[in-house]
């Protein structure tokens, strides 16, 4: 049984739809920053985005080419494993479906990799079908380096560490290969609605 915390009342419950807050999360208004090292700063002149791995022909876009791709502006809720959720965040970027258009692959997994050496692994199925993007703007302004700029992955239906900041590429893999946090005790898939925070969840 869950022990009650004597004298703990919690903050007055805010006027937010509880159905939008996954178990163990709370809503914030600011935008906390979580990353394991220093913030990389890659000028867009040196930036490119690559899709490679278990595919016939790798594809790569320089910044101007990437920005010329069809982009979408959309509003989603995001959930960080450190317990905060931020509702109704607005982003602009390129759908992964667009980046994988015409790609034939036997891969079932993807490793997203970033400047600074960060990696995270996902089932390919979690990135396709309009569920994930590479975003370059937050709230209509270019994404700040602290929040992953020039561009980050955005996979809002999974905990936010899957939304790799400073993303530079997707490597399609046949086998599932744990990324940075996934190798360090965090859950391999990270579904906030199942509260999949750590290895044994």
């Amino acid at each position: 049984m869950t022990p009650l915390s004597r004298g703990f009342r919690g903050r007055p419950r805010r006027d937010i739809d509880p159905a939008r807050i996954p178990p163990g999360q709370y809503a914030v208004d600011d935008f906390p920053v979580l990353s394991a090292g220093p913030t990389p700063r890659t000028p867009t002149a040196d930036w490119s985005f690559t899709v490679d791995g278990a595919i016939d022909a790798a594809a790569s876009w320089r910044w101007e080419q990437f920005m010329a791709l069809e982009s979408e502006t959309f509003t989603v809720d995001i959930h960080c494993v450190t317990k905060w959720s931020k509702l109704a965040t607005s982003w602009t970027g390129v759908s992964i479906d667009t980046l994988l258009e015409g790609v034939e692959t036997s891969a079932a997994y993807v490793t997203a990799w970033s400047d600074g050496g960060y990696t995270t692994n996902l089932p390919l199925a979690d990135l396709t079908g309009g569920k994930a993007w590479v975003v370059h703007s937050f709230d209509g302004t270019p994404l700040e380096p602290e929040h992953g700029g020039p561009a980050r992955l955005l996979v809002p239906h999974l905990y936010f560490w899957k939304s790799a900041k400073w993303v530079r590429g997707l490597r399609l893999t046949v086998d599932d290969e744990p990324g940075f946090w996934e190798a360090a005790g965090y859950h391999n898939r990270g579904d906030p609605w199942q509260e999949q925070r750590y290895w044994n969840d």
Binding site: T2, P3, L4, S5, R6, G7, F8, R9, G10, R11, R13, G24, Y26, D30, F31, P32, V33, L34, S35, A36, G37, P38, T39, P40, T82, K83, W84, G116, G117, E146, F180, A183, A184, G185, Y198
Partner: protein, 228 residues
Amino acid sequence: METSHASTIVLDVEDWPGHIAGQHVDVRLTAQDGYQAQRSYSIASAPEDSRFALTVERIDDGEVSPYLVGELRVGDTFEVRGPIGGPFSWRVESGGPLLLVGGGSGLVPLMAMARHHAARRSEIDMRLLVSARSWEDVLYHEELSRQVRRDGVDVRFTLTREQPAGWGGFARRIDAEMLSAVGPKPSAKPAIFVCGPTPFVERAANLLVELGHRPQAIRAERFGPTGS
């Protein structure tokens, strides 16, 4: 009480599996009506210590920290989960040299590392730079002053707002010159741990990269908020 707005909480945890210095736990509080709030807190004690301790700084308009600092009494229980965190941890076996940079409550996990270093009587070159507003705001300041003399950890302080009379330490926000004066040189390839409020960590980590430290050698832990 560690300072006027921070307390160390000593816990008796059932079936605690042990931890590595630098790791944290998740604390979960449950109100009468079933409402729950969870937050992360670094473990302040060394793995070798007989007491298991957290140190919590009160955020005035916060939900959980004022409860832990002000309301909690001896004998109360709450849920703790952990230990959590791999990259932000250090043990003597991992070697050195080491540079630890802490701002405010960001000192907590670094203190666990310094205590571990002391408990193991390690001779590894460990330097600790502590930033706080005033001497009274420095967590564990007495223990840290002792540590400088006794345990071979090179501890330096910077007091950004208010300094005691005759203060001989740094008295400004952290900058490149300060980090060079404290740290092992980049050529010594120190492992670096930086912890504190997000803007502090951003600033310190950027300065360290600019000084020539390898980004992969810098581990950071950001304790919210962003101010934006």
